[in-house]
Symmetry: none
Subunit: 223 residues, 2 copies
């Protein structure tokens, strides 16, 4: 299990690193958001422990950047017990929020709980449907073994529909669950993304066999 720790206080990072190594994790440390982003892309950690108060860009920005493409669990760490920050963090998709000074054992327990939840068997990570293979962990989608170059939204939409294969979703439901609950976007936007996906995975985009329209309802993945 790989852990990415992003904090600019050496005292903190050293303590965390020692503790988590003892618990059997591989740890990577960055002392800025930029360095953190670089490391993230390179090592693709299983979880991020992120300090909000960072030089230059705040931790919020990094969280947003990561969440745009990946579902990697993020735990916020902050010196401020500010309730506003807490809410902001959780709204942004953080999986947990811990204020300094924190109990080290508690943090370890929370990390383990989140990892168990996010990597546990109920959620099958890699999805295979016919000649289609989607791996959310590496953010790689393949068609007949050939990597497709999907945009973040395309990927998220295809992954969601393929994961819930057969089930029909209205455009609104897709916006809720792929775009996010608070995305105020025209529902026709879904159509456009569906079209782009069809051009990639359908042999004949006029006779869709995988991404099927259910007239009056929405779309579903078949296969």
């Amino acid at each position: 299990m790989k852990l990415l720790i992003i904090d600019d206080e050496p005292a903190i990072t050293e303590t965390l690193e020692a503790k988590f190594r003892k618990e059997g994790f591989s740890t990577f440390v960055a002392d800025s958001a930029e360095e953190g982003m670089r490391l993230f892309k390179r090592v693709k950690p299983d979880l991020i422990i992120l300090d909000i108060m960072l030089p230059n860009r705040s931790g919020f920005d990094l969280c947003r950047a990561v969440r745009k493409e990946f579902a990697t669990p993020i735990i916020f760490v902050s010196a401020r017990a500010d309730e506003g920050d807490r809410i902001k963090g959780l709204e942004m998709g953080a999986d947990d929020y811990v204020t300094k000074p924190f109990n080290m054992s508690e943090l370890v327990a929370r990390v383990k709980a989140i990892l168990r939840r996010s990597t546990g068997e109920p959620v099958q990570d890699i999805i295979e449907r016919g000649n289609l293979r989607i791996d959310p962990r590496t953010h790689l989608a393949q068609l007949d073994g050939e990597p497709m170059n999907l945009s973040p939204k395309e990927f998220a939409l295809l992954y969601f529909l393929a994961r819930n294969s057969g089930q029909v979703f209205t455009r609104e439901a897709l916006l809720d669950r792929v775009w996010g609950k608070d995305a105020y976007v025209s529902s026709r936007t879904v159509d456009v993304h569906i079209r782009w996906l069809r051009m990639r995975i359908e042999t004949d985009a006029n006779q869709p066999e995988r991404l099927v329209t259910v007239r009056g309802i929405g779309y579903k993945f078949v296969g």
Copy 2:
């Protein structure tokens, strides 16, 4: 969805049971760890709500025993806001940890969230009537295994009538419940849709056996 509640305070279990039954869960109650383990093995619940403070063996032991073999989600409930317990609970594999007194609606929300994550599907809505099969989740209607291509209204009407098989509905009632309360259309519109459905599911459209007219009243589904 089956819920196993393990707590030795009748006041708590009764409240929980009432609330979750109202939400549509099947509930099973045990007032000790031993009884809880017996019930667990027999009913294989989808989720366990577990009090830590139990006579004889503590809830921790039960959690460990269950987790040795099964991945059933467990929510801990405790009167103590003791940080040590909290950590212990999370470390042991609890999926959540709630301290008494707790907000009932919040607990329901957490239970639903965890179940959604671990099973991915809510309820079984599929209707089967003879050679007819209607699945609203995939929006697929089949006759002898062959998919019929129903329009949205046709699908909704057939699903409603089949679901309330045997019951007669006036055209107005059908408009209310299939078209919607605020639909302002002629009641004869129903006749037309009934005809289209008959042409699809009746062997002899002149002698309807499934979508039967009740003269002077309306229509009913037989089967």
